[in-house]
């Protein structure tokens, strides 16, 4: 934390407000390369907004965001994505009218130019990679199916696979297990543990069971600020964290 210059991602004194409502204020957050960081906090703490700020969906009104040493908070969304940041949204967002295969091909965005892609009709390396990813998230049998026909859990996995196809250095996951069955959540945790080390992950989650399965460092947000940081045991015994969660039934039930 104290060596922010070495971190892969660093948010320094970041704030944003919507028409008077301060969603994030003076947020400092640093994440190292290859780390799997969980971001938790009571409702309205600004977790999703923090992810929005990193990927450029929302513009900061103050402060700075640096990625691999370079300020990115003034770049356009697609430039941030090209810099190596991928984002999974809370509401699963895939291309419903396209097949799973086509979805994955779009996820593979190493070439982003209009004209470069005009002469690209999907080659064997692409196909192999697409099929590997489909296998990874258990969608091999659904490759030619329109994404609209997938179940909710499958849609979540498809979006995760899309981000993996993009292969960004940093992945932002907003409630990846929302709406998943217990078994599906468990499989997702396994998947995340496998990704550890290859990608840096920031995961916003409410499901504490899931957090317990994957977490090493946890950052707790409250009222738009960073409240505490540490291992699960450290943060759950922190007095301020207990107070923040007061009334919402404690950290385990948030």
């Amino acid at each position: 934390m104290n060596s922010e210059s070495n971190s892969q991602l660093a948010l320094c004194d970041v704030s944003v407000s919507f028409g008077g409502f301060v969603a994030v204020s003076g947020l400092d957050l640093a994440v190292d390369r290859g780390e799997l960081r969980c971001l938790i906090g009571p409702n309205g703490a600004g977790k999703t907004t923090a992810l929005d700020l990193i990927c450029g969906k929302t513009r900061v009104s103050g402060g700075e965001i640096r990625f691999e040493g370079r300020p990115i908070h003034e770049l356009k969304e697609y430039e941030i994505a090209r810099a190596g940041i991928g984002r999974k949204f809370q509401v699963p967002s895939v291309f419903r009218e396209l097949t799973v295969r086509e979805n994955l091909q779009i996820g593979r965005s190493h070439h982003t130019g209009v004209f470069a892609n005009l002469v690209r009709f999907g080659g064997s390396t692409d196909d192999n990679e697409v099929e590997r990813l489909a296998e990874l998230v258990g969608l091999s049998d659904a490759l030619e199916m329109a994404a609209a026909h997938l179940s909710h859990g499958q849609t979540q996995w498809l979006e995760i696979a899309l981000i993996l196809a993009q292969d960004p250095a940093l992945i932002l996951m907003d409630e990846p297990t929302a709406g998943m069955t217990g078994q599906e959540t468990h499989k997702t945790a396994e998947l995340f543990n496998r990704l550890r080390g290859q990608h840096t992950l920031i995961v916003v989650e409410h499901d504490m069971g899931f957090v317990r399965d994957i977490a090493e460092t946890i950052s707790v947000m409250h009222q738009g600020k960073l409240l505490a940081e540490g291992t699960l045991d450290e943060v759950s015994s922190d007095q301020r964290v207990r107070e923040a969660y007061l009334g919402s039934g404690g950290i385990g039930h948030a």
Binding site: Y78, Q105, L118, R120, G122, E131, R132, E135, L162, Q198
Partner: protein
């Protein structure tokens, strides 16, 4: 190219359509009818242009006729200058300029002495216009209904300017009394099979080229943009650039259609970039199926064909407009994918029934895994 059964079938269908329209003159020796059919084919090309931007990229262009009209004027200017001295006044000035006391050929008319320039301008001017308008809209994230309204308003502006600048454009009358289109020593009489072949050939080329675009990764990304614009952006694609591209390609195709229309009709008029034509194109495409290039083309042929067949009688034509309005509303309500969508639905139903008898093909999963590293 991914040549699974479905896309091979599709290619075959498109090929068959192209062959069919190219064969028509072999069975038809009526110059008047050939001219009429050439006109319908031009409309089909215009429909393909709209299907590309509306059906594939989700940009409803209510001003498709703008670019059509620009192309048609480019051709008309060249053909007008080709009439020296029959329908031009002294110093080679077009007749309407002489009547309007213009003494010198305006600078933007001068290059149209060259047919090669005109042919290029007929495609590039509309494409550039669309690229500029697209840049203006899409960089500002204007989408959906607002984009539709901007395209409509832009068309009315261009139309008004052309009518107002009578001295340079012929105003309400447009540009009439044109020379015959000639290129590489070939003359294209509007009432002959040569012009029909020219139009049919261009339509085939446009159709196949557009098909290739939709099959490419760019085409896929455009469809993804139609589905979920934001999601695409966060993969690192410059969404606005993709939209500008398809908008400009669509405009270039419309420009080509406009040039051909001037050759077939032997004049250019402000009505070519009018609201009625523009909205007609939307009808053709909606009826034929906005998400199918071929469907859109066939939609144009059917609607304009029936309209043409009924146009001999005034009352029929008017009740036809009534019927067409009703038909259009019904299509919008119940067949959002048009005739092509209905056809696909039937085909899928039929295939499912026959597929039930064949054992399903197993997934080649084993090979895929061996290529993946690390993750498994």
């Amino acid at each position: 190219m991914n040549l699974t059964g479905k896309s091979a079938q599709q290619t075959l269908l498109y090929g068959a359509f192209c062959v069919a329209i190219l064969l028509v003159p072999l069975f038809l020796d009526d110059a008047f009818l050939l001219n009429k059919y050439s006109r319908y084919l031009v409309f089909a090309m215009l429909a393909v242009a709209l299907s590309l931007s509306w059906g594939y990229a989700g940009i409803l262009n209510l001003g498709q006729a703008t670019t059509f009209g620009l192309g048609s004027y480019c051709m008309a200017m060249a053909l007008k200058l080709g009439t020296v001295p029959v329908h031009t006044g002294s110093d080679g000035l077009p007749d309407f300029m002489v009547w309007n006391n213009v003494t010198e050929l305006p600078w933007f008319w001068a290059p149209f002495h060259s047919m090669a320039f005109a042919l290029m301008a007929g495609i590039l001017v509309p494409a550039a216009f669309a690229a500029l308008l697209g840049w203006f809209m899409f960089r500002g994230r204007i989408t959906g209904v607002y984009a539709a309204i901007i395209t409509l308003a832009a068309m009315v502006v261009v139309n008004l300017v052309i009518i107002d600048q009578q001295r340079f454009t012929g105003g309400f009358n447009g540009i009439t009394d044109l020379a015959q289109f000639e290129v590489a020593g070939l003359a294209f009489d509007a009432y002959s099979s040569s012009t029909y072949y020219l139009v049919a050939f261009c339509l085939s080329a446009v159709l196949l080229l557009s098909l290739a675009i939709t099959r490419s990764k760019t085409g896929m990304i455009l469809q993804a943009i139609r589905d979920q614009e934001d999601r695409v952006r966060f993969f690192g694609y410059d969404v606005a650039l993709y939209k500008i591209f398809v908008f400009a390609v669509s405009a270039g195709i419309a420009g080509l259609a406009g040039m051909l229309y001037t050759i077939v009709m032997e004049f250019a008029s402000p009505t070519f970039l009018g609201v009625p034509l523009s909205l007609s194109v939307v009808i053709w495409v909606a009826v034929g199926g906005r998400q199918s290039l071929l469907g859109a083309a066939i939609g144009a042929l059917i609607v304009t064909g029936v309209q043409g067949a009924l146009s001999e009688s005034e009352t029929f034509l008017e009740s036809w407009m009534l019927i067409m309005g009703g038909l259009f509303v019904l299509v919008v309500l119940f067949l959002p994918k048009g005739i092509a969508g209905a056809f696909e639905m039937l085909a899928a139903l039929f295939l499912r029934r026959s597929a039930a008898k064949v054992p399903s093909v197993s997934q080649p999963a084993g090979e895929a895994i061996t290529h993946g590293e690390g993750a498994s």
